[in-house]
């Protein structure tokens, strides 16, 4: 599992997609942050940005976007930073987990339990 199908893309594509930027802003998104487009793609926009805006007309998680784009999660987060900074997307961050690795409120967990029981 450590070596995956994306490896064949080689580092060049990843470098091009991100413009060689660092990982500095990645912490702005969780893997399950839900992304929603706030505008349509415009001419001349980077193709990955276009794809994200089309994909997220309804909410979609960072990790799903990563899978559909066949790009590592960290690369997708960099792409999302650009779109967030220009107001083209909004991000719905997870709000169940509490700081310090503590469990969510019992009320939230009760809802999870009941929903799973009713599946």
């Amino acid at each position: 599992m450590i070596r995956g199908p994306l490896d064949k893309e080689g580092p060049d594509r990843l470098y091009t997609v991100t413009g060689g930027r660092s990982r500095a802003d990645e912490s702005r998104f969780d893997m399950v942050t839900l992304i929603v487009s706030e505008s349509d793609p415009t001419p001349g926009m980077q193709s990955e940005h276009v794809k994200i805006l089309r994909m997220c007309r309804r909410p979609l998680s960072v990790v799903e976007i990563s899978s559909y784009l066949e790009l590592p999660v960290s690369v997708v987060k960099i792409l999302l930073c650009d779109l967030l900074d220009t107001g083209r997307i909004t991000a719905r961050h997870p709000h169940a987990a509490r700081p310090g690795g503590r469990l969510p409120e019992p009320e939230t967990l009760k809802k999870v339990l009941v929903a799973l029981q009713n599946l």
């Binding site: 995956g4 470098y15 969780d30 590592p72 469990l103 967990l109 999870v112």
Partner: protein
Amino acid sequence: MHSRISDSTVSPALPGSAGHAPLRESASNGLKIVIVGGFGVGKTTMVKSVSEIRPLSTEETMTQAGVGIDDASLVRDKTTTTVAFDFGRISLDEQMVLYLFGAPGQERFWFLWDRLFAGTLGAVVLVDTNRLADSWYALDRLEHHGTPFIVARNNFTEPRHSLEDVREALDLSPDVPMIDCDARKRDSSKAVLVALARHLYSLSTDAAGKSTAAAGKSAG
């Protein structure tokens, strides 16, 4: 059996094999559960049997150097590790969406655990009783990180031991729930998730006022 959609795994959200299966408009709160366990124990099978979408896979590249190094370009950094994982999803209600991650089986992945699955509610440790030793490492890491978990025995064949025998063999505390399952079956995998959710709920109510709600094993 050439039908593309099996009745037990049909997904109302799935428009087609090439579709991007978006969430409902009101979805706003992503939750995480991780399925861990040894190589080939049935993690991906379990994700597949309960997910509302066809299971997806992706990768994360992680640098082993400390965060905050400005020029740690992820593609040129020699210390980058690539971790592949698969996942599925269950829409719980109008807002909550539960993501299930099938963690890679290899031990070398585990040092990345806390970063990759930070904020996870809890874990299912899948075990195959013929290969119990495969799960020791996963159990050790979960206890170390204080992630709540349950143990689910995936019964490839008719079990020859009681779950209490397994508990003893794994040196599990009496408060870790254990359950038998068949990861290929939706209802059985669903029961595993219900057992984990019940455990998390009871920990959260027990822990009201305590400093940590996360210990899967009682202290001392």
